[in-house]
């Protein structure tokens, strides 16, 4: 980040600091309320399209929000975050296809695998700064993608995991039932967002912001920067992996595209669309991105041009994500009305 942006970003975040102290109970209540609303949605509408949309939002949203923990909160520009999305999808899919364990077991085991892989890769990557961090994460992503393509006997190569992912019912939940899958995806999304919000608002979260703004100063006051970066790298990987698992369940398969750099690129694009200075920016970005993708591919096969122009509008025209823009606009309005009042 440039200094100016870091300054802007920290200003916005500082504002929210003074207003909102970590309030886990209140957050939990909000999360619960959101979940209830989402869970009641199928009763109001019979549109499978809407449910599909929410499921995809859950997969991409967890992925993009976790990327923002790195990009927006810690200043770690990862170009390879998609590898954990792919890892989640493949880990879960393979576990279900090859071992036939129960869904929750496979879920936890996949996160455990992600944890180990992220720890190893992270330990190597977080030593590097800025563009070099970006490159080395990208290189790892390509290496993993290449491995998936080459290791045909395990991964099915370019054709992905074929034959569908078995989803035996557990605890009365049957994930091959669309509605059940929907509810579980919503639950994972809400829990994931809640946890990430707790991380962001915790003292550790403020350590991360300090590292982003000035890593040298942070290390002067006794923060182990490497350790903090590694911790958030691994945590973010876990949430990205969860997103991958939801995606694997949604398409009942896993494909090399899930571990390709384009997924990381889309994650960055989503973050830019929604804005990186607010916690919910990436969620807003996810919804925007999916709506944009779905409608544009419907209308024209030249969607590259349309998407390109939209990106340019945000990057050069607006110069910030939508949520950043909204918040700034709101703050300015409040300031102006404040002036008028005084």
């Amino acid at each position: 980040m440039t200094e100016l942006q870091a300054e802007q970003a920290s200003k916005v975040l500082d504002n929210s600091v003074t207003q909102a102290k970590p309030r886990p109970n209140r957050d939990a209540l909000i999360a619960l309320a959101v979940f209830v609303v989402l869970a009641l949605l199928p009763m109001l509408t019979s549109s499978k399209f809407l449910l599909d949309f929410v499921i995809r939002c859950a997969a991409y949203g967890l992925f993009a929000t976790s990327l923002n923990l790195l990009v927006g909160y810690t200043g770690l520009t990862s170009f390879g975050h998609g590898m954990f999305f792919g890892l989640g999808a493949y880990g879960f899919g393979l576990m279900m296809q090859k071992t036939g364990v129960a869904v929750p077991v496979a879920f936890v085991a996949t996160l455990a695998i992600t944890f180990v892989v992220a720890l190893v890769i992270g330990a190597i990557c977080v030593r590097l700064k800025e563009i070099y961090f970006a490159f080395v994460t990208l290189a790892f992503q390509m290496l993993i993608h290449s491995t998936i393509l080459s290791w045909v006997s395990l991964t099915g190569g370019d054709q992905g995991l074929r034959g569908g992912i078995p989803r035996p019912p557990f605890l009365g939940i049957d994930l091959s039932n669309h509605l059940h899958l929907y509810i579980v995806s919503c639950a994972l999304l809400v829990i994931g967002l809640f946890l990430m919000h707790q991380i962001a608002q915790s003292p550790f979260g403020y350590t991360l912001r300090m590292i982003r703004d000035n890593a040298t100063r942070a290390s002067f006051i006794g923060i182990d920067v490497w350790r903090a970066k590694l911790t958030i790298f691994v945590l973010a990987a876990l949430f990205a992996s969860t997103g991958g698992i939801i995606m694997a369940l949604f398409v009942s398969g896993a494909y090399p595209e899930f571990a390709y750099w384009t997924i990381s690129g889309e994650g960055i694009f989503i973050n830019m669309l929604g804005g990186v200075t607010t916690f919910l920016g990436p969620m807003v970005g996810t919804a925007l991105f999916l709506i944009l993708n779905d409608t544009v591919t419907r209308v024209t096969e030249y969607h590259g041009i349309v998407l390109g122009i939209v990106i340019l509008f945000f990057a050069i025209g607006l110069r910030k994500g939508l949520m950043d823009f909204v918040i700034e606009w709101y703050a300015q309005r409040r300031e102006r009305s404040g002036e008028r009042a005084s």
Binding site: D52, G157, G160, R162
Partner: protein, 419 residues
């Protein structure tokens, strides 16, 4: 945006009009005749590296849909195609397929995806139970593997194993005649390339047991530069080379191998050469490359086939591709099945499709059959010949024998544990 080429304008605007007509402008008109129309969803690849093939799939379908609609549609219901781009990404293909059924109300699916997309759409078909015809995936396992089998999915594409049996026996005959013992292979490093090469060499060795594979190259799909592959093959000094590179990769490879004079040093068997997308593009096409037919209007050498190829060319100003005929066949089969079932209902159509034999310009004997046991197409024209640099490109095609193909296929299935 300026469009430079004159012929391009007319072709593209036809495409645009057609696409728009099918998807958008038709909507109000359709609304009035709601009960009469049947929506058919078609996820395919309209952007990215293989957009050309996706476009040709769409062309193949639309050419036939017009005929079917003019003749009264499917059991009296006009077909309305809803064609969407999946960008070649499996997860998008799955998403689009779901959306086509769930939101757009499509009652049938034509899955014009490449292999990985086809497997993704296959899962959607399994989930939703909608009638789905895979038109492009040649991966044998899609229909041969009983684990994949679902009653509502069919395939109208050629099958890798059929191709390899014919190619293997053709190549073996030439090997014996010319004493070609040392072979090299060069195939794109992905499932299609690996499977096809494996099966080809399997049958080559079966028919000509003294053949030996002395060198294998596995360039990446869409690799721009094949120099190291070409020189590696030159080093190995084989007497013959097999390759299942296709499209732009094949033409790149030929251009790059040409300047090393590779084609004068060995017999080349390139299964995907005899396709107009490659034949018309390569500027200095070497003489005498052995190739399997993909789509070529002179084989089968019938008036029907030539007429179909010309009609396509007249309409789209380019020749059909392998994917074109495969997609056209799907519509032809659906039309016949709806006549047989006197219904456009997916379940009834599926029932009618099983074992259905129809007249077809692409049939080896003028007919093609949707085999009931594994719901895949057989009896299509398949053969090998050698190329010349100008039309008709492959003057003589030696047809494959379907009796042998079916026998060996059954044996192959057994060896894979599929039966």
């Amino acid at each position: 945006m300026t469009r430079t080429r004159k012929p391009g304008i007319s072709r593209r605007s036809t495409l645009a009009l057609m696409g728009a007509g099918a998807v958008t402008f038709a909507a109000p008109w359709v609304a009035r005749a709601q009960a009469k129309t049947i929506k058919v969803g078609m996820p395919t690849i309209l952007s990215g590296r293989v957009a050309q093939l996706g476009t040709s799939s769409r062309n193949g379908v639309m050419l036939e849909v017009e005929k079917v609609n003019a003749a009264g549609g499917l059991a009296g219901r006009q077909i309305e195609m809803v064609i969407r781009d999946s960008k070649g990404q499996p997860q998008e293909a799955a998403r689009v397929a779901r959306e086509l059924v769930n939101t757009d109300g499509c009652e049938l699916l034509i899955d014009a995806e490449a292999s990985s997309g086809a497997f993704a759409v296959h899962e959607v078909a399994r989930d939703l139970g909608v009638l789905c015809i895979h038109t492009n995936s040649e991966t044998s396992a899609l229909t041969a593997d009983p684990k994949q089998h679902i009653p509502n999915a069919f395939r109208t594409a050629r099958q890798g194993v059929h191709d390899s049996i014919v190619g293997g026996s053709y190549a073996a005959a030439i090997s014996k005649a010319k004493g070609l013992k040392k072979w090299a292979t060069c195939a794109p490093d992905y499932a299609y390339g690996r499977d096809t090469t494996g099966e080809f060499t399997l049958y080559l060795k079966r028919f000509a047991p003294d053949v030996e594979i002395i060198s294998e190259s596995w360039p990446k799909l869409f690799q721009p530069d094949y120099t190291e592959v070409v020189t590696k093959i030159l080093q190995a000094k084989p007497q013959a080379l097999y390759s299942c590179l296709w499209g732009g990769d094949l033409t790149s490879y030929i251009d790059q191998a040409n300047i090393y004079a590779l084609f004068t040093q060995m017999e080349v068997f390139a299964v995907n050469m005899a396709d107009y997308t490659a034949l018309t593009v390569v500027k200095n096409l070497p003489k005498g490359i052995h190739s399997g037919n993909r789509y070529i209007k002179t084989y089968p050498a019938t008036a029907e086939n030539a007429a179909w190829g010309d009609a396509y060319k007249a309409k789209y100003n380019e020749y059909p591709t392998n994917w074109s005929w495969e997609n056209a066949t799907a519509i032809m089969l659906l039309a016949e099945a709806s006549k047989k079932a006197n219904s456009a209902d997916g379940k009834k159509l599926a029932e009618a499709l099983r074992g259905l034999k129809i007249k077809s310009p692409f049939g080896a004997d003028g007919t093609v059959t949707m085999r009931a046991e594994d719901q895949t197409l057989i009896g299509y024209a398949i053969g090998w010949g050698t190329t010349i640099p100008q039309e008709p490109y492959v003057p003589e095609v030696k047809p494959g024998d379907w009796k042998t193909i079916l026998e060996l296929e059954a044996e192959w299935k057994k060896s894979k544990g599929y039966t």
